[in-house]
Amino acid sequence: MRRSSWFNSAVAWAVYALLYAPIAIVVVFSFNAARAGMEWQGATLDWYRRLFVNEQVQSALKVSLIVAVTSTAMAAVLGTTLALALEKHMRRGREWVNGLLAVPVFVPDIVLAVALLLFFGLMRDWFKVFELGLTTIIAGHVTFQIPFVAMVVRARLAGMDPALDEAARDLGATSWQVFRHVTLPLLMPGIVAGAMLAFTLSLDDFVVSFFSGGPGSTTLPVYIYSSVKRGVTPEIHALSTLLMAVSVIATVVAMMLQRRDVR
């Protein structure tokens, strides 16, 4: 009994080490004074400092933030609307739509990216907005964000007491007032949690941004990819570390929000 539990925890630690070692190395080397190589030459914040004066990084950061903020806002509204429609109005075929909702989550990014590219290409013949660039990246991101938002919001909706709705109506609230004063405030932690997830997904996305982007719409991950082709520098480590920190924080906040009780 003792022995096997000791063994189990050893395995667990080994798996964790395997998972986190590469990430840890990136973080550690983002503080290494050496310009190249794996030798430790003392700690420095130089690489971080340089990021802030690198114009290409600045412009990629700007694109990433514009894309992430815009797409997240759109996905939050659309995903919430979808969740509400599924939970409250759709009686028949709910299981089906539910299943369909999960499909984009499991479809490989590359497949989605190619499909979007194809779609944008077709639409371009009629609508100029589908010229590859910022707009198409945002549209692509919204596509994969919606299911995540909808699923998180639905989970919260499902845990909500339907009597609250009725109590509000009984107290004289119109449908809009019920939504505005009861449903929406109760859903808010779920919507924010879903939006946080969507935000990190957008910020971290490479494949869709790479395929749907055009000149002048380079996001941070795409910038990192093109720089790495010229060689991995400590600056890239620093940039990756920052990106990761933002994602981790957003994910933790989202998880904390989701755990908050509905009742």
Binding site: D161, A163, L164, E166, A167, A168, R169, D170, L171, G172, A173, T174, Q177, H181, V182, P185, L186, D261, V262, R263
Partner: protein, 373 residues
């Protein structure tokens, strides 16, 4: 709950009388199952009306139809003479205290209570004093800033009550409001609810499956079974003159004696039963000779060893005696039939009523009830 100054109380009851409710042939079906199977009920303005019945008989459904939270498939419903079925829940002059309380978890007690007034668009200046008064009335003033999760069951119940009455509805619907509370608190709140209703003058429609609660609180009670209303009467009348077996047995213990009518002389029926021939006062309705009837008698109306035996006196054997404090319960057998009797313990002499002893049992004609089925 707080004592309201006399002036306020009388002003309230004069310009805020409750409304009457008239339901006719209400039906609510879920698929093939009829939760309401033709309910007709007439509730008087300002009365404390209880709907009593076993779990699943349709009480909540009836309340929801009155509130407008559920629709009726047939029938009509009017409040104060105004047809209601086409009017949505938020426009009816009715508020509900829900079985689960359904307090808004994201709002403080004060914001829960003010919800209805705010939704109606009253100014903060008008809302605040009414909310304070309602919270005072049910003694939750000190909890005004708390969230529902920080309240006990009894406190939640009071908040739910304040949230409803602050709107001064013509009718207040209460769905088993006390069912989730422990016995002591339940008894206390029964008294408080009753006096609150008297003071406010609203019509209270109160749903319960607890017969003692219904008897203790109500002006009138509707006994419900399987989607229908069986009998509507005051508690005393229901207890003393139940219409059928269901009502007789649902409200307290009852001896049921089946028999056949053998003769009728004016107001007196003679019924042949296993116990022997019984003389009974004929109730409403005509019962020709040889019709089958069931007679009912409450255990506390059965007399043992009467000083002067009557026409309905028989010799019996005492099978069992059980002392339960203030009362002693007896099981007797009269010609193979088991009867129950209850006597005040102090009136039971020591030694005379022992299991196995022979007794004379008397079933007074005035205590025997002729049931419809």
């Amino acid at each position: 709950m707080q004592q309201v100054p006399e002036a306020t109380a009388s002003r309230k009851s004069s310009d805020h009388l409750g409304a009457g409710i008239e339901g006719v042939g209400l039906v609510r079906a879920f698929g093939a199952f009829r939760a309401l199977d033709g309910v007709s009920v007439s509730i008087r303005p300002g009365e404390f009306f209880s709907i009593l019945g076993p779990s699943g008989c349709g009480k909540t459904t009836l309340l929801r139809v009155i509130a407008g939270l559920d629709s009726a498939d047939a029938g009509s419903l009017s409040i104060d003479g105004e047809e209601m079925l086409a009017i949505p829940a938020n426009k009816r002059p009715v508020n509900t205290v829900f079985q689960s309380y359904a307090l808004f978890p994201h709002l403080t007690v004060r914001d829960n209570v003010s919800f209805g007034l705010r939704m109606k668009g009253l100014s903060p200046g008008e809302v605040a004093p009414r909310v304070e008064r309602a919270m005072e009335l049910v003694e939750i003033g000190p909890m005004a800033g708390r969230k529902p999760a920080q309240l006990s069951g009894g406190q939640k119940q009071r908040v739910a009550l304040a949230r409803a009455i602050v709107n001064e509805p013509r009718v207040l619907l209460l769905d088993e409001p006390l069912a989730a509370l422990d016995l002591r608190l339940r008894r206390q709140l029964q008294t408080e609810l009753r006096s609150l209703q008297r003071r406010l003058g609203m019509t209270f429609v109160h749903v319960t499956h607890d017969q003692e609660e219904a008897l203790a609180m109500s002006d009138r009670i509707a006994v419900m079974n399987a989607g229908r209303i069986v009998q509507v009467a005051s508690g005393r009348e229901l207890y003393e003159r139940p219409k059928n077996r269901f009502v007789a047995q649902f409200l307290g213990a009852c001896n049921l004696i089946p028999g056949t009518v053998t003769a009728r002389a004016g107001n007196v029926l003679t019924v042949a039963t296993n116990v022997g021939p019984l003389e009974v006062r004929a109730g409403h309705g005509t019962l020709p000779a040889s019709s089958q009837v069931t007679l009912a008698i409450r255990p506390e109306r059965v007399r043992l060893n009467p000083e002067v035996p009557g026409r309905n006196s028989f010799s019996a054997e005492l099978r069992d005696a059980m002392f339960t404090g203030a009362e002693t319960q007896f099981t007797l057998s009269v010609a193979e039939m088991a009867l129950r009797a209850v006597l005040a313990s102090e009136s039971v002499g020591a030694g005379s009523l022992r299991p196995g002893s022979a007794v004379v049992v008397d079933l007074p004609a005035s205590a025997l009830i002729v049931l419809e089925d």
